[in-house]
């Protein structure tokens, strides 16, 4: 979401969240931090994008959550992948690969 990566996040945020949760349950705020850290701040996840995305994905049966407490004793919603979420992760990751390879072909790079 930084100014230099304008619209590119669209359609990719779900994939990033799914992939981050593959490692194990995590709460929303921690998901955003994890992605930011993994990308060395190249991707920054706004809360106004993050939480709506978590709702969407929960409503679609990709995630479930339970209320809990963080190590700092705060109320958190601990999210985890559902079986459907896992399937979706696989398919979205495959789509992402196909898409980036297609773009790479237009950009004139060597195909993978």
């Amino acid at each position: 979401m930084p100014k230099d990566v304008p619209e590119l996040l669209k359609g990719t945020l779900d994939l990033l969240i799914l992939k981050t949760l593959e490692a194990g349950p995590m709460h929303g705020y921690a998901i955003a931090r994890s992605i930011e850290q993994a990308t060395e701040r190249a991707l920054q996840i706004e809360e106004g994008s993050l939480y709506p995305a978590l709702y969407r994905m929960t409503n679609r049966g990709l995630l479930e959550f339970e209320w809990g407490r963080s190590t700092g004793n705060r109320r958190i919603k601990s999210y985890r992948l559902t079986p459907n979420g896992r399937k979706r992760l696989k398919s979205e990751q495959a789509n992402w690969c196909r898409f980036t390879q297609a773009v790479a072909r237009v950009l004139g790079e060597q195909p993978a």
Copy 2:
């Protein structure tokens, strides 16, 4: 735009158009065909996305066009890059690289 590459195109269509026009002037319909062919149909550019994008980019000074005739003697708008369009192509291509590398890090692939 095929169902399996749902939102991913967002923010990337401009880059694809700019890159396609780097090779030389082309009209809208041909741009779409060129991208589809280069990606072996992996990316399909809808006319309802294409023409609004061309207007946007023209209004922003990235493209200019002149009316002409195709080899089949049809009226066409022949688009070409402006100097600003060339600059934009460079920066968008750089953004795209940074973005895909960031996503790759989250997905656990080897960085480039």
